[in-house]
């Protein structure tokens, strides 16, 4: 490693000796990377606070910051999962890949079902675009949290297939269909949907035996409905779910 790009001989000592700030710069760079701030922002902020009088020490600090930021950023990148860290829900892409994996292990998909939750509220149509999006995101987070409480994380993969619909793949259980109504009620209560004359709807859908059909079904769940759903319509009631028209509800 050359003196230009490596940590030059004695550079760390020089930085510490002059400013005593090397550790703080490392901590700052790590913090910026972990909080999603760019390297450019870090450099710009450091330019403001580091004394530029001693050019060599200034450059050493920036190099130290750059390397530390890059290291922390790569660690963050490599430790990410396909799940949104806030809701714990995965991307639709991950859900379909997971179903392909389940089908590919040889066990088939017979032991799994999809639990599909729809939430719609009249309040969706009120306010500015950003406000509406924020409210929908918040509702999805509450649905995710409720599903987590009901099913736990063991063996469960779920995704927000649209801004108003969440689908999770869970182990097939006899009592699931009976519990779907309770789950719908629980979500309705938490989101106070009843005050708008709405209710969360939960469907339990067996996965098709063929992986390709299952993937196609999941992708269809995220598509907009052919017709707008009316408030209180029962196209996705708590039942042992059928695919097709019953899933053309609000998406």
């Amino acid at each position: 490693m050359t003196a230009a790009f490596g940590r030059p001989e004695g550079s760390s000592d020089r930085v510490t000796g002059h400013h005593g700030t090397a550790d703080r710069v490392r901590a700052l760079a790590t913090s910026y990377a972990e909080n999603g701030e760019s390297l450019e922002v870090l450099y710009a902020d450091l330019d403001l606070v580091i004394d530029a009088g001693d050019r060599a020490a200034h450059d050493d600090l920036l190099r130290l910051a750059g390397r530390t930021w890059a290291d922390a950023f790569m660690t963050r990148l490599n430790r990410l999962t396909c799940a949104d860290p806030i809701t714990g829900l995965s991307s639709v892409d991950h859900l379909t890949t997971h179903v392909e994996w389940l089908g590919g292990r040889g066990g088939g998909l017979e032991d799994r079902v999809l639990v599909v939750v729809d939430v719609v509220s009249r309040r969706d149509d009120v306010g500015r675009r950003n406000e509406k999006q924020f409210r929908r995101r918040l509702r999805i987070a509450v649905v995710a949290d409720t599903l987590d409480a009901w099913f736990g994380t063991a063996g469960v993969v779920g995704a927000a297939v649209s801004s108003r619909r969440v689908a999770v793949v869970v182990h097939r259980q006899e009592a699931l269909v009976m519990r779907a109504a309770d789950l719908a009620e629980s979500i309705t209560t938490r989101l106070r949907l009843a005050s708008d004359g709405h209710a969360a709807r939960v469907g339990v859908v067996p996965l098709p035996a063929e992986v390709a059909d299952a993937v196609s079904m999941i992708q269809d769940l995220g598509r907009p409905p052919a017709e707008p759903a009316r408030a209180g319509s029962d196209d996705l009631r708590a039942d042992s779910g059928t695919v097709g028209r019953k899933f053309s509800g609000p998406a």
């Binding site: 790009f5 760019s38 450019e40 390397r67 890059a70 290291d71 660690t75 990410l80 469960v156 993969v157």
Partner: protein
């Protein structure tokens, strides 16, 4: 060994041009290959030294590191289950699947999930000296052909791949077979560099397993 990918950047520096366009081009390649800023900067540095040029000034250093950061940020925003460079699963997908395997039943919080005991990571790596597209294709081919269908097969970095395998039947023997076959196909360099294939046990804690995968991906 001089990294040929650095040529546009070295040329720009030699001619005194703005290094940013060339840096962006080279950094994008490094990001695709999963290489760290250290590797990127050291590669540039080695190329300049080989050409007998003076080390770059601070402004160039800054431009080059920003180009790397931009390229990686772009990669970050394109994360999906499939790694765009290799066509295999991404590190993030592997993290998700291992997390799923190790998740504990809420009703039995003290009981470690058997996933850690029943699954291993089979890791295959090419040394830098054997890095070439045909060699990577052979490595990928060996893993795809010799692991069961449906296996999560991830690109940890540009030259290191991993398969999430059931420990039985005989994951370590499979690792040995892939190792021998790869060495036969790729040969061994004059200095004895050869592909490496080994198995890594999974820690019982999700956090530990996540850390292990992140380290393997460095």
């Amino acid at each position: 060994m001089v990294d040929r990918r650095m040529t546009p950047l070295v040329e720009a520096y030699r001619l005194g041009r703005d290094p940013r366009p060339a840096a962006a081009e080279v950094a994008a390649q490094c990001a695709r290959d999963g290489e760290s800023l250290d590797v990127f900067l050291d590669g540039f540095s080695a190329c300049l030294a080989a050409e007998g040029m003076t080390p770059p000034d601070s402004a160039t250093w800054r431009s080059v590191s920003l180009a790397w950061a931009d390229a990686y940020s772009a990669r970050y925003h394109r994360i999906s289950c499939i790694d765009e460079a290799s066509g295999l699963h991404s590190v993030q997908h592997l993290q998700s699947q291992v997390r799923l395997l190790l998740a504990r039943e809420p009703s039995r919080p003290l009981l470690a999930h058997p996933g850690a005991s029943t699954y291993v990571l089979l890791v295959a790596e090419l040394p830098v000296e054997l890095m070439a597209s045909p060699h990577l294709a052979m490595l990928k081919d060996e893993l795809i052909c010799r692991t069961p269908p449906g296996t999560v097969l991830a690109a940890l970095s540009g030259r290191r791949y991993a398969a999430l395998l059931h420990r039985r039947p005989a994951a370590s023997e499979l690792a040995g077979r892939i190792d021998r076959s790869l060495s036969d196909r790729l040969g061994v360099t004059e200095r004895g560099h050869r592909p490496r294939v080994w198995t890594e046990g999974l820690p019982h804690e999700i956090e530990g397993a996540s850390h292990l995968i992140a380290e393997l991906a460095r």
